[in-house]
Amino acid sequence: MAARGHVQDPNDRRLRPIYDYLDNGNNKMAIQQADKLLKKHKDLHCAKVLKAIGLQRTGKQDEAFSLAQEVATLEPTDDNSLQALTILYREMHRPELVTKLYEAAVKKVPLSEEYHSHLFMAYARVGEYKKMQQAGMALYKIVPKNPYYFWSVMSLVMQAISAQDEKLAQTMFLPLAERMVEKMVKEEKIEAEAEVQLYFMILERLGKCVEALDMVRGPLGEKLTSELRSRENKCMMMYQRLQLWPECNALSYKLLLKNPDDWQFYLSYFDSLFHLMDKSWSQPEEGEHCVEGPVQTTVAEAVKFVVDRMEEQDLKESRPLRGPYLACLELIHRLRQRGCPDEKDLGDPLELMVQFFGKFGDKPCCITDLNIYLHLLPPEQRSQFKNRLGELVPLGEAGEDGFGFPGDTKALQRHLCVCQLSRALGLQHALDTEGKLRLITELKAHYHHGLQFGKSCLKTELQFSDMYCLMAAHVYIDLWTETGDENMLWQCLGVLEEGLSFSPSNAQFKLLLLLLFCRLGAFQPVVDLYSSLDAKHVQHDTIGYLLTRYAGSLGQFAAASQSCNFSLRFFHSNQKDTSEYIIQAYKYGAFEKIPEFIAFRTRLNQSLHFAQVRTERMLLDLYTEADVTSSLEESVKAMGVCPEEDDIPWDNMRDNRDLTVLVSWDPKDRELTEEHRRLSLEEESVWLKVRSLTLRLLASLALLGHAPSPRNSDKTNENGISAKSSTLQTLLSQLDQTLETAAQITEKQTQYPFLGPPSSRLASALSSGSCHCQVSALQLSLTLRELETTGLDDSSELQTQICNTFKSLVVQLQEMLSRCKGEVLEMKDSRLKTQPSLLETLVFFVETVCVVLWVASYSANVLRPLKSSLQKKKKKKKDINTAMPVVLCGFQEWTGSLQGIVTQALDHVKGQEASLTALKLAALTLEEGHSQTQEECGFTRAAMDKVQSSYLGSLQELGDLLRKRADSLIRLKI
């Protein structure tokens, strides 16, 4: 931030040091300097604001705000104060105050272009479209510059876009915007390309496609020059909307002649062709076909067109383009869909694909290209196809192992492509276990052989043969999931770790390793893998789920917290960041980007992942901190959780996860489908609902504990209290409902592709019993609330009910704990066996213990005054024979049992730690020779060590948390 303007102004000279201190982050000195200056010059308002900025940046928000308001109420009109206040308000996230500031300023200096334009931008920042429209016109009246006029027009368009009522948009805002532009057109005042763009946008939104078309083709359209093919693209868009198929066809044809590789125009060419055929459109007898030139209306013409394009490529000396060859396959696909027999004129798909492979088999994208058209092959041709391709791969003579190897990288790529295609055709999946093992051996041999071509590769480059390694890993995973043989998984980890050692930048190796470690319940190695991916910013939203899905559920609370923070930091900056560029888009006249930026901001705000990390982060804080370092109530207040408030956009949740980030060559029937995506989002949303309701219930419980006893309170207070318990009641019944939905969802037992989305924690949460136990515990707090009102006399039924819940909670916790029993890692018959689900269940158990203990602590708070008033009464009556009320005895018994359970759990954790530490993995003999080389065994061992140490880490964190929790049991005495 630098002071601008007149160098001569003595105030600028005086303020300069403060600006410098602030710029250098020396806020303390800035404040001191401002104070010094203010002593001499009381009326130097800007110094006050700069001091406020310093205060704001040192965390003294309240002081900063009141200082700023002192100046703001004076309605300053000096540049320095206004700019400084703008900066301050922005840092305070109060952009609406900037509008007030400049509203006052333009009133005092009504002819200032600068202040009016600041006012417009201030409105833009907060999205006050109507006021923007007026501010734009006010500006234009002072200084008749076109941009100001069109700012106003654009603000009308924004009113249309944001209008709830589409009719209002169509009958009022957009027509008004149109008239405003038309006026300028008539007066021949249109100057810039941006203005034409905006005119087009308005006409398009009004559905006035004919007018839009005329405009683009007319003299105004000549201004559309920045973007390549801008006019053609716009015409094409309008032809399609108007269903002007002759024009659409002719234009596509023309553009394809110019660039026979541009895929979008093949699609529009075919689309329009078939529309024309369906309508039996015929050429007019005289004159031109249409404004865009010749139209093609028969399959024969289309076939000839595509064949000509292919021949053109065949004859070319430079590198051939893939477009025409794939267009040929696309046309066959479409003709087949229509049941049109003419497809044979194009040739046999098998032959065409073989030819394609002959031309492009050495390109890494050959698999991606052909994959789309594999369905054109009948199943019985699949093996034949693979064999035909094999003939086109030059391999050296087979060695002892029966494998022949490629002599260069092009041959390697061809061979690899055949492997990828045979996987995509389902041929690999059809192999039996023996066959798959042999395939793995072959893939690994090719992988190792191919490393020689990449000896000079830099660390940042991939090895040519990397994908063999990845495919070997995929086949290992097939074997693991089919047979349950965990050795396959260990070997898979070994081969990937080896791959990473030769190709340290391979993101696919890292992603798959990360996924496998997570599935194994070992989160520790994942942290480094993820950080080496260098995922940043928007990637936290798209692939952050890989991290956050597992960190907390595996008991790595510190790492979980950190992962959530990465993502949260990104989301929180979004609001501020995007507003800035919406304003820039006005300045540069990139009008079409404005709605796009707003939609983008909304998409991030409504992100599933955002809501998840927000919720999980707070739950994590409660589980690890509340009642350990501060009370539950203090924690809840510090987080600002309000039980009544639900800030998650349930109906508009956006799933921004990149679920295909892991490369897969699986056949179509095993690929991720739209249905999978829908189910995964549904499952994650329900789980999120469970978590967010739990969070709000805990907040509600915390605030319940704070309420004074109802008997000593007046009416209003009582209302307050009953409101609180009714919130709890409402939330509980919502949670009940959600759990019912959850049960229905888990019944479906949806299986996702291995490389697709991970399942949510929903199923394991339900089977662990944690959700229901937590509900009972929270329900108990309501019953206790009732007892608090009723008192100990005349409440024997209630007391019995409470005692029964005490007992039932103990039973439920015992059951949960028993589900955690077993060895998370053990050696059996010289094989390593894991049970990561035990870890997940243990985490649920610990979380539930936390919840029960918070309820216990609330119970103690309710019972303590009841007991003491009872003792007072007893003293008065000198009646020592009355028995202790049931609920008090029950509570004591309960806390004893809880103590017992926590101790048991701690013993269990200690036992697990001990047996894990005692496990000597080095003693494990890995079968060398047959399937794994010595090096691979080394990598497998390293992976095993990582898993073992990660389990230990999880257990330690869980043990630590339980121990801290155990301490809070002491405070439960009544």
Binding site: T460, L533, H537, F597
Partner: protein, 178 residues
């Protein structure tokens, strides 16, 4: 076989296969929005028929016309590993050059790591030459030394005498470039 179109915000959610490359930087949202707001025509993405993003180019126009320094600049150019060796980068560069021609630029320039031989050679093939070396232009993380950049240029038709690309013999520091 490629669809070339304007890059939009939604593409940011789909570009992982391109950006998980170690030499492709994922910038903060403001950076992308700034380019989209100011030079939308210079931000082009290539899309495969299956919908996968293949690669993108991001650029801008800057410099003083009076000093004959008005030019197109390549800020980022990246192609996903599986779509390499198709000439896609060359195609995207060609488009950026055409846009710069239309804007009346004198030349197009770009910065590249001196170690990135693959890229340097590609640019040379496309007609670019090293104009100067910029010392420690790329700041490195994890303790490795900062890396130098080549500032490479190609003259456009407006600079008929190709004055803009006459190499500067001495390396410059990052703070000395505009």
């Amino acid at each position: 076989m490629t669809t070339l179109r304007a890059f939009t915000c939604d593409d940011l959610f789909k570009f992982n296969n391109i950006n998980l490359d170690p030499l492709t930087e994922t910038y903060g949202i403001p950076f992308y929005l700034q380019y989209l707001a100011h030079w939308p025509e210079y931000f082009i993405v290539a899309e495969a028929p299956g919908g996968e993003l293949m690669g993108y180019i991001m650029g801008k126009a800057e410099g003083s016309v009076a000093r004959e320094e008005w030019h197109g600049h390549v800020t980022a150019l990246s192609v996903a590993p599986e779509f390499r060796r198709l000439g896609l980068a060359a195609k995207l560069m060609e488009m950026l050059e055409e846009i710069s021609e239309r804007k009346g630029g004198f030349f197009v320039d770009l910065f590249v790591r001196v170690s990135n031989q693959v890229a340097v050679n590609m640019y040379k093939q496309l007609g670019y030459s090293v104009y100067r070396t910029v010392i420690e232009y790329y700041s490195a993380s994890n303790g490795e030394p900062d890396e130098d950049a080549y500032d490479m240029r190609k003259a456009l038709s407006r600079d008929a005498e190709r004055k803009s690309i006459i190499p500067i013999p001495h390396p410059v520091r990052p703070e000395d470039i505009e």
